[in-house]
Point group: C2
Chain length 214, copies 2
DNA sequence: GCTCGCTTGTGAACTTGCGCACTAGCGTTC
DNA sequence: GAACGCTAGTGCGCAAGTTCACAAGCGAGC
C-alpha cells in the first residue's frame, strides 16, 4: 500500500485522464462524492473497471459512500504528474507545428511550449505564438537547458526519426509523434502516436465490413 | 479460407494501415517481395505478429520467398476498403474543423470532405477550402444525400454528443471524435477518438514515474 | 529429381486485460 | 447498539492478444 512502486497496467494509465476529466466536471458542478457506477457512466466504461483502476492508486474510496471527488482528483493529478508544468518542445514549425504552438489549451493544461524547432533556416528566428523558432541542430543543448521532458514531433514523415533521435539525445523521456510514420526509440523512452490517416483507414475497414446481415 | 466473413481481431485491424504504409514505401523503392521479418522491422512489431495478422487476410505469402509487395498491397487496400473514396462530414468549423478541411491529405488519401457543419449561423454559408458550411440542423438530410459514411467531430466538448447523435441519425456508421470528451453511440457504429490532452497526460504519467533505479 | 536453405502459416503456451460476483466495511436508522 | 442498505475492494474464471517454436512447403542448385 505505502510503496509508491506499485505497477499500474498500461490500460489503466490510459484511462486515468478520462476519469480525471470526469472528476473535474463533478467539481465544477459542486458534487462532493461520486460512486464508481456514476464515474463509470461518465467515463464510458464498466463500474468494476473503475474500481479496479482506482484501487491501483490506493484505497481512496469509502464503502457505502463512494469517492470524495476533490480528494480523488488531487490524488489522481499527483499520480499523473499534473501538479507541476511539463515544458514541451515541438519539432517542426510547419502547418501542424504552428497550429499546435498557437493552440492555447496546451499551456493551459500544464504543457507550455518551451521551444520550437525546424530544419528550415528561413523559419529560424521567427516567433510563433511568442515562441522563437530554433534550428533542429540546437535541439540537444536547448531542450536540455529548458528542462524539456516531453517532445512533440510535427515534422513530415521523412524527418521524424531524425527528430526523435535528437530529442532522445537531448534527454527527452517521452515523445508524442504526429508524423505518419513509425519511429523507434530506445528502451525507457515513452512513445505515443497520433495519426489521422491511420484512424480514418481503421474506420474505413469497419465501414467496409458493416454487418450485411441486419 | 474462401469465406470473406472471417473475423479479424481489432488489434490486427489497427495494424493493417501501418503495414499498408510500409508496403507503399516498398513499392516506391521498387522492391518486389518482402519477408515478414523485414515488414515487421518497418512496422515496428514482431515478425510472428506480422505473419499472423496477414494470415487473417488469406494466404498471400510464398514460403521460402516472402510476400509479393504489390499483390499484398492490393489485397490489403481492398480489405481496408480503400479502393474507393469515403466522403466524410466534419462537424464544427472552428479552428480544428477548418484546419482539417484545409488539410489536403484528407482528400488525397481517399477521404474527401463532402460537407462541413457548424451551429453558428454566422458561419453558415461561408466556404472553407471550397466546401460550404451548413447548419448542424441539416446534418441528417445532407449527410445522407451526399452518401457520407464517416463523420468527424471537431466541436467543443459540450457540443460533441449532440453532433454524434445527429451524425448517427444521418446514417453515419463511423465517427472520429476530436472533442475532448466521452461520447456514446449505438451498437454497430464504430467510434475512435483522437485526444491531444489525454495523450500528453499519459506521457506525463510515465515521465513522472521514470525508473528511479537506473 | 533430390536435397537443402529459407520463409510462411499455425498450434499452443503464456501474458494481459476484463468483468462477474462476492466479501468487507461504512453510515444510517430505528 | 443492532440490523440493514449501499458501495468499495478483490479473487477468479474467461477472453483477447502476443510470442515461441515447429511443421509445411517453395525454389534454387547440383
Amino acid at each position: 500500500m505505502s510503496d509508491r512502486a506499485r505497477h499500474i497496467p498500461e490500460a489503466t494509465v490510459a484511462r486515468l485522464p478520462v476519469y480525471l476529466r470526469s472528476l473535474a466536471e463533478l467539481v465544477d458542478e459542486k458534487i462532493p462524492t461520486v460512486s464508481s457506477e456514476r464515474l463509470a457512466e461518465m467515463a464510458g466504461v464498466n463500474a468494476a473497471k473503475v474500481r479496479k483502476d482506482l484501487s491501483y492508486l490506493g484505497s481512496y474510496g469509502t464503502r457505502g459512500v463512494g469517492y470524495d471527488v476533490e480528494y480523488l482528483l488531487f490524488q489522481m493529478s499527483r499520480e499523473l504528474g499534473l501538479t507541476h508544468d511539463w515544458p514541451v518542445a515541438i519539432v517542426g514549425a510547419g502547418n501542424l507545428g504552428s497550429a499546435l504552438a498557437n493552440y492555447g489549451g496546451f499551456t493551459q493544461r500544464g504543457f507550455p511550449v518551451a521551444a520550437l524547432f525546424d530544419s528550415d533556416k528561413a523559419k529560424v528566428g521567427k516567433r510563433i505564438h511568442g515562441v522563437e523558432v530554433h534550428h533542429t541542430d540546437d535541439i540537444a543543448p536547448l531542450a536540455e537547458e529548458l528542462g524539456v521532458g516531453i517532445g512533440v514531433i510535427a515534422t513530415p514523415a521523412s524527418a521524424a526519426q531524425d527528430a526523435a533521435d535528437k530529442l532522445v539525445q537531448a534527454g527527452v523521456g517521452s515523445i508524442l509523434n504526429f508524423a505518419p510514420t513509425v519511429i523507434s526509440v530506445p528502451d525507457g523512452v515513452s512513445l505515443r502516436k497520433v495519426d489521422l490517416a491511420l484512424e480514418l483507414q481503421i474506420l474505413s475497414f469497419y465501414q467496409e465490413h458493416r454487418d450485411v446481415g441486419s
